[in-house]
């Protein structure tokens, strides 16, 4: 059976299993979502937004869409995927099911828990009903698919005037108990007025069985909220990830989403920012380092609708072997969004002879008093700089790695959690296969 048919058939079973509270607004949203998915199906290369990314190979697997749950994982086996050196809240899922053993949730200074549990409590259900599905696309078929099956994920609700010192870690493990599994986590993040939060998200498979994750996250940042979101994608080569993150920002809020893509077979990141107020800042940073036949597609969209807002986007990519990449950065400045500052930069280095990148900056500007710029570079390493390093006694291989490290570094510098910064630096050094010879 094709995956689409299998999913549609499963939806009935999913509802009948009592996964859905039929009275809730969420139920209504899910029903509409499955209808949209049924109508559209999976995207193909005929869709403009999927021109350079084919899901064909990923979709032909016989996925288990309701993974078997109950697999336990020892902390020692997964510890390295956590930022274990710092105090944090954690929400951990194993094959799509919540692991209370590995998690560390709270309802004290803020609500950091799982979505399914929150839905069962009236006071949270009200909040969820208010926000859920309101910023995620109702047109995108993959987002609709996730919405239809949304059952489990993180629920993060930061009340106003709360500065959450501890970062929140969201970890999604797949154990590979079944040979092919599909996971669809759904996260809801609400950050109240004047509140600050830092979130680290990682999807990780624990063996080489096939996994497809179709994840959706909705983030609501209220007035003057500050949100720093870090996505670390360093999964095994049989894992594919479609991540759709929708950000809704109110006046004076600052939201930064950093996407570090190093692993996986196919990774598609859809990142959408919607502005609902003035003086908003949106930051989009990304580092991609891939090789072999890995494919990474970064699709970003910033919707400037109000005056005096700014967006800063910086994506760097290093492509080795026969890796392929897509960067599609769209910035829309609506007619009323005067005094917008929107900057976008996408720099790529191709190291492998078979590597390629399709880069497409898209600016649609309807206002006349704005500052917008975009830049895109695709190149190789500067031979003159290589010679400089070599002339100091640094062998070519190390010199190249040092230069690539330097190339990625201005994005690394933006990481505000020191433990994460050194972690990312280490992953980059590993990816570049080099001993940097010094502590970072």
């Amino acid at each position: 059976m094709y995956l689409k048919d299998k999913l549609l058939a499963s939806f009935m079973a999913f509802e009948n299993k009592g996964n859905i509270d039929l009275d809730s607004k969420v139920h209504d949203i899910r029903t509409k979502a499955i209808a949209n998915f049924e109508k559209q199906g999976f995207p193909t290369k005929k869709d403009e937004e999927w021109k350079y990314t084919s899901l064909k190979n990923v979709l032909k697997q016989d996925y288990s869409v309701f993974p078997k749950i109950g697999t336990t994982v020892e902390l020692k086996d997964v510890k390295k995927y956590f930022l274990h050196e710092i105090d944090s809240y954690k929400i951990v899922f194993i094959d799509g099911a919540y692991s209370s053993f590995l998690s560390d949730t709270t309802h004290e200074e803020a609500d950091v828990c799982l979505l399914s549990a929150a839905l069962k409590k009236p006071k949270y259900k009200m909040i969820i009903d208010h926000y859920f599905g309101t910023v995620a696309s109702t047109k995108d078929s993959l987002t609709s698919l996730n919405t239809a099956f949304s059952k489990e994920g993180a629920f993060i609700n930061i009340p106003k005037n709360t500065i959450l010192e501890k970062p929140i870690q969201l970890l999604f493990f797949s154990t590979g108990r079944e040979s092919e599994v599909m996971l669809q986590p759904r996260n809801l993040v609400i950050v109240g007025e004047n509140s600050h939060v830092q979130i680290y998200e990682r999807h990780q498979s624990l063996n080489d069985n096939v996994v497809l994750t179709n994840s959706v996250t909705e983030i609501f940042a209220h007035k003057r909220a500050i949100v720093n979101f870090y996505k670390v994608q360093n999964d095994r080569k049989a894992a594919s990830l479609i991540d759709s993150t929708y950000v809704h920002q109110k006046q004076n809020s600052i939201v930064t989403v950093n996407t570090f893509s190093f692993g996986g077979k196919l990774t598609r990141n859809n990142l959408v920012f919607n502005h609902e107020g003035e003086y908003i800042t949106s930051n989009l940073n990304g580092i991609t380092i891939v090789g072999d036949k890995q494919h990474i597609d970064n699709h970003t969209l910033v919707n400037h609708k109000y005056e005096n807002c700014e967006s800063h986007e910086l994506y760097k990519g290093i492509y080795d072997d026969s890796a392929t990449g897509v960067f599609n950065g769209k910035v829309v400045v609506k007619q009323d969004a005067q005094k917008t500052n929107a900057f976008q930069q996408n720099d790529n280095i191709l190291i492998g002879d078979g590597a390629s990148i399709n880069a497409k900056p898209q600016l649609e500007i309807f206002a006349d008093d704005v500052k917008c710029s975009h830049g895109c570079t695709i190149g190789q390493l500067d031979e003159n700089a290589l010679f400089y390093l070599q002339s100091r006694g640094i062998p070519k291989k190390e010199a190249k790695a040092l230069m690539l490290f330097a190339f990625a570094n201005d994005v690394v510098e933006k990481i505000k959690i020191p433990a994460l910064k050194s972690r990312i630096s280490k992953i980059i050094a590993e990816k570049l296969n080099v001993e940097l010879g010094f502590e970072i």
């Binding site: 500067d382 031979e383 003159n384 700089a385 010679f387 400089y388 390093l389 070599q390 002339s391 100091r392 006694g393 640094i394 062998p395 070519k396 190390e398 010199a399 040092l402 230069m403 490290f405 330097a406 990625a408 570094n409 201005d410 690394v412 510098e413 940097l436 010879g437 010094f438």
Partner: protein, 245 residues
Amino acid sequence: MLKIKNLHAGIEDREILKGIDIEIKPGEVHAIMGPNGSGKSTLSSVIAGNETYKVVDGEITLDGENILDLSPDERAHKGIFLSFQYPVEIPGVTTTNFIKTAINQKRKSQGLEDLPAKDMLKMIREKAALLEMDRKFLSRSLNEGFSGGEKKRNEIFQMAMLEPKLAILDETDSGLDIDALKIVANGVNKLKNKDNATIVITHYQRLLDYIVPDFVHVLHNGKIIKSGGKELALELEEKGYDWLK
């Protein structure tokens, strides 16, 4: 120490150096002067091993060993140092970390362990003082946002750290004001001893007031057209290069 015999080199099909002969002995300072486009920078690049340039004939030996087949890093390990006319900026790598990497790579090539951090730090402190460098520079990204003078000073700092047998200073005076020039020249002079040698490549005589050469060679159109003592530099300053053509 360094012997260059009948060196012909160029880029692709264009020959830039058309038969160069120079011999440099330990303790000597040689100045290579010449107008723009005469091949000065090509010569320094070829000695240091820049693969952009192809050597078509001749040889370069260091202490009797042919170095033409060595990569730039291997030449550096043997003691050749090139101070660049345009040092490259490396964001994200501090000068300290860069020099540590360079020194430990050299030690590795000699079969030595990494220099203990304490010794490294002491050495960095001493050499930075020699160049009157603000220590803050050392924790900044290599050359990033440095002024022309700061970059050149940083080059000589690296030279001081790496203690080369043969240092080639390519247009080290360009972009330097007189105070910076004095500091840089003073650093170079202090690093001089009976066992090492220096090649100073310059357009103008000015630098040679501070780094006094034992020999001056005039390069023109890929050939050395005249060699002499330090007085030759003064004569050139006075009469210009046309005098020799």
